[in-house]
């Protein structure tokens, strides 16, 4: 027989586990990666552009004198650098991402493919309108879906994120009050609200009047009603709320707000729990932003870009900001100026340049058409079912502050199960990283001590949920057994151990700077 005489062993040697310090500093597939500024050389580029001789520059004597200081790298070097960086990130594509209130659901690649069609991605916002009728038709179709799903008559499309949508909604309310000649100053915001709500109210020139929560995780409806008077511009509620619960008295509160002449702003961050089943318009909502990057999956992209269209009630529709989209019988038309307004329109102003986040619009409509109204309803139900399944499967070992009732699309726990163990919510979250999971949202909402907010979304299979539950139960038991070392030092198996946030904040280093070379000895 022919012999393999290369000496290559075919089985692993029996070696004790060692913590090997490597020569490179890298560990297998885990590569350390310097900053782009620490790489590269002068005179190298990753883009070939012909040199142009400028014969008569028309720069008004303002030519740049000093070099910029950018490093030069070839294409393969740049690709490798960013591929290596990408591998230091967790992602929904790689694992369950139970970040409550953030809705990390599957991001279909069809969304991206459609947004990159040249007819959408390569058109200019100020092209003649007859050359972008397909784009305007897409926006119009998305508006139809959003208004139909919410049961609201109008929608402002330009806001670029949820918080931008909140601002748009409150400015619409301000304009409606101005039109009535009223100067109301207060917005009622529950203590459980997301931080953007009070920040937006302040930005829109209102004062924030905080409404407490009840012991069962709802807004204190009696306290809220008691605060309603002729100075209240609006109530600003998240529904389902940040504790993952539907506000049962929502319609009553909306009616009470309307009765005193105020409006109801609903933070639609959690619309994904009820889309296709419940129409906010039926609940008395006057304005609500919809996070297309959450409910309609456009994706999150490491923190943006998002999109936050705002649906509006009949009472507010007239005050929607520019631009407006209308059909003039012959074709779709963007109204960008006050001089050409349709009858009755009284826009409060403009939220941003151009017409909104077209790239996200394409992604959202692609998602909506794929699901259909039946699929959207099923997605909401699956999201709610999955959260309840987690709640039911964990509540005997992880403390749930609001008892046995069902939750909506996210399950809230607190840190009372950790009492006496010496393990904190933060430690527990970091231990989840070692188990291969992105942690849940922690320390939010503020109304619960050591909050852990878990949102599985509809994108997980039962097997995936069961595995997650198994890990969570195991960790909870380890924590209760006060096995502190696996928590306090966690994470051990991540690109970085715990980072010193105090140092970062005390001596902020917000950019790279070339190190001063030591002076040569004289």
């Amino acid at each position: 027989m022919p012999m393999n005489a290369q000496g290559r062993p075919s089985a692993a040697a029996a070696v004790e586990r060692v913590d090997l310090a490597t020569i490179s500093g890298d560990r297998g597939l885990d590569h350390e990666e310097p900053l782009i500024f620490e790489l590269g050389r002068e005179g190298v580029t990753g883009v070939d552009i012909p040199e142009v001789q400028l014969s008569a520059a028309r720069l008004d004597g303002q030519r740049r004198c000093a070099p910029i200081g950018l490093p030069g790298l070839s294409e393969p070097e740049v690709v490798r650098h960013y591929v290596r960086l990408s591998r230091m990130n967790y992602a929904i594509d790689a694992g369950l991402y139970p970040l409550g209130s953030c809705t990390m659901k599957h991001n279909p690649r069809l969304n991206e493919k459609m947004a990159r069609l040249s007819g959408f991605g390569d058109i200019h916002p100020l092209q003649p309108q007859q050359t972008v009728q397909g784009a305007l038709a897409l926006i119009s179709e998305l508006m139809r879906w959003l208004t139909t799903l919410t049961g609201m008559p109008a929608v402002a499309m330009s806001p670029k994120a949820g918080a931008h949508g909140e601002l748009c909604g409150l400015l619409t309310i301000r304009a409606a009050l101005d039109a009535r000649g009223e100067n109301r100053t207060r917005i009622l915001v529950p203590s459980s609200a997301h931080g953007t709500n009070p920040a937006t109210a302040a930005l829109a020139g209102f004062t924030v009047d905080e409404v407490p929560a009840t012991d069962d995780g709802h807004v204190d409806a009696d306290a809220l009603e008691a605060k309603l008077d002729a100075d209240v511009a609006a109530i600003m509620l998240t529904n389902p709320n940040t504790c993952g619960l539907f506000e049962p008295r929502i319609k009553e509160l909306a009616d009470a707000a309307h009765k005193i002449g105020g409006y109801f702003y609903c933070d639609g961050a959690n619309f994904n729990a009820i889309a296709g089943r419940v129409r906010p318009g039926d609940l008395g909502v006057d304005a609500m932003h919809i996070n297309l990057h959450k409910t309609f999956s456009t994706p999150h992209g490491g923190g943006g870009p998002g999109a936050g269209p705002v649906v509006l009630s009949a009472a507010l529709a007239a005050y929607a900001p520019l631009p407006l989209l209308m059909h003039d019988g012959e074709r779709l038309r963007l109204v960008e100026e006050r001089g050409a307004l349709p009858a009755g329109a009284k826009p409060f102003g403009r939220m941003c340049a151009f017409h909104g986040q077209m790239g996200m619009f394409v992604g959202a409509i692609s998602y909506m058409l794929s699901h259909g109204a039946d699929g959207i309803r099923q997605a909401s139900e699956d999201a709610v079912l999955s959260a309840n399944y987690i709640l039911a499967s964990l509540k005997d070992v992880v403390s749930a502050p609001f008892g046995d009732g069902p939750c909506m699309h996210e399950a809230l726990f607190d840190d009372s199960f950790l009492q006496g163990s010496g393990v904190t919510t933060l430690d527990f979250a970091k231990a989840m990283i070692d188990e291969g999971y992105h942690p849940m949202t922690m320390y939010f909402p503020l109304v619960v001590h050591g909050a852990m907010l878990i949102e599985p979304t509809e994108s997980e299979s039962k097997e995936s949920l069961d595995r997650f539950i198994h890990v969570m139960r195991g960790l909870a038991e380890e924590a209760k057994a006060a096995k502190r070392e696996r928590f306090e030092g966690a994470p051990y198996y991540a690109p970085r151990r715990r980072l010193d946030e105090t140092l970062a904040a005390r001596k902020p280093v917000l950019r790279w700077r070339r190190r001063e070379l030591p002076q040569a000895a004289e």
């Binding site: 142009v52 609940l283 259909g372």
Partner: protein, 447 residues
């Protein structure tokens, strides 16, 4: 439905675990009157990928894509070539499908590119520090005005007449609540006398360069006039490629720079998503809006990055936050960072020269035409022409001939009769000699 993994059996056994009788029982807090049936929605049912692609491709085909015709539109959004590697890299799952880097140990990829982005923006603008981006140039400008109002404790913002009108309207929407906004008159091709408007109530002066007509502005005298009265200069840049050739605002006395970064790495996208650049002086960082990535070390002493100075932000400061902003423009930042890294110093400067050279050549040819006048004596890659008839009708006529000839100034200043005949023309590196020939010939025919 292909995106939903649960089977009917899964649902049944999960429901059993929850103890609920049926799915409706989980929605028990929803008022019965508010629950609607499927039939309440006049919307289609689930469709496969092929069907969705057909529908959307059909809509897309009804638009005149920039790459399919000679293309000269600018006015705040510019067509540049984006290297293939950019889109490939930003679509990697780990970038595309991650969230804001709240858990830094497993988000170093995002945090490091944000740190690189902040450094690049600071270098380009000639400023000390930059944030991890805002939504776009217009909202960055509005945030800059609010920041100036906080820093100076003064109410008034003076906006140059050369500021992009959409930007001015965005500023008015926001800053009107916290103070007054004064818009200087529009003077195409000229620098208005803005210094005389500054008084002791002035928080800031907002000047765009190159301005909305393309004119390059000298910021130094305006910075001096503003500083003499205790006001700040906010410099706005809508075409960041210009910074490869023009003195950056930071070297001209700007206190805050708000810019649109779309030109680097981000497509036209019909106006969004884009990426707002925001840079300022180090001493102002605590009043800065938006996310910041900062350098630190981990428990093993290794360098790493975290979101820092969060106490400025809404999730901690709530109604006292510097801004209500919660996201940045993450993926567009990444596209910007990768494209600029590919360009490097040499590529970026060459790109700027290619743009300026192209625009100079086109401006020379067009302004030699009968009855066509070049209004902007200086410019980078965009200039304004005065035509012998309303520019909008010329643009429409050229669109019929499959040429996107630029933006009529009347689209931006609709009520202003003085700009009716002005056409704003941009020529980037994507414009070929042949495109210019076609444009010049067709323009001669429609004039």
């Amino acid at each position: 439905m292909r995106y939903l993994p649960l089977t009917p059996d899964d649902r049944a056994s999960m429901l059993a675990k929850t103890g609920a009788r049926d799915i409706d029982a989980l929605f028990r807090d929803v008022p019965k009157s508010a629950v609607v049936a499927r039939s309440a929605f006049d919307l289609p049912d689930t469709q496969g990928e092929l069907a969705v692609e057909r529908t959307l491709s059909c809509m897309a085909s009804r638009n005149m894509a920039g790459g399919s015709v000679p293309f000269f539109c600018g006015a705040g959004a510019y067509k540049h070539h984006v290297p293939a590697a950019v889109d490939h890299l930003i679509q990697r799952s780990e970038f595309l499908t991650s969230y804001t880097p709240y858990q830094p140990e497993i988000a170093q990829g995002t945090l490091q590119y944000l740190f690189e982005f902040q450094t690049q923006v600071a270098l380009l603008t000639g400023m000390e520090v930059a944030n991890a981006s805002l939504y776009d140039g217009s909202t960055a400008t509005a945030e800059a005005v609010l920041m100036a109002q906080r820093l100076t404790r003064r109410p008034k913002a003076i906006l140059s007449g050369g500021l992009h009108p959409h930007y001015a309207e965005t500023v008015e929407t926001l800053a009107a609540l916290s103070g007054g906004v004064v818009r200087a008159p529009t003077a195409p091709g000229k620098a208005e006398d803005i210094a005389s408007l500054i008084d002791r109530q002035t928080a800031c002066v907002v000047v765009q360069s190159p301005d909305a007509f393309g004119l390059i502005r000298d910021l130094k005298p305006i910075a001096e006039a503003a500083h003499a009265k205790g006001a700040l200069l906010i410099a706005v840049v809508t075409e960041v490629v210009s910074l490869g050739l023009i003195e950056p605002p930071g070297h001209q006395g700007a206190d805050i720079v708000a810019a649109e970064g779309q030109s680097i790495g981000v497509g036209l996208n019909f106006g969004g998503p884009y990426v707002g650049l925001f840079a300022t002086r180090e001493k102002f960082i605590r009043q800065m809006p938006g996310r910041l990535s900062g350098e630190t070390v981990d428990a093993n002493g290794k360098r790493g990055f975290v979101l820092t100075l969060s106490t400025r932000e809404q999730h901690i400061r709530r109604e006292k936050a510097t801004s209500n902003i919660c996201t940045n423009s993450g993926l567009c930042c990444l596209a910007f960072t990768i494209h600029l890294s590919l360009l490097g110093e040499e590529g970026f400067v060459r790109l700027a020269r290619a743009n300026h050279g192209r625009a100079c050549a086109l401006a020379d040819r067009l302004s030699r035409m009968k009855d066509v006048e070049l209004v902007t004596p200086s410019f980078f890659n965009e200039f304004t022409l005065r035509l012998p008839k309303p520019a909008a009708s010329v643009v429409d006529a050229l669109a019929d001939r499959h040429i996107l000839a630029g933006v009529p100034a009347a689209r931006l200043w609709p009520g202003d009769r003085d700009v009716r005949d002005l056409l704003i023309v941009a020529a980037t590196e994507t414009v070929s000699d042949e495109d210019c020939d076609v444009f010049v010939k067709a323009l001669a025919e429609v004039l």
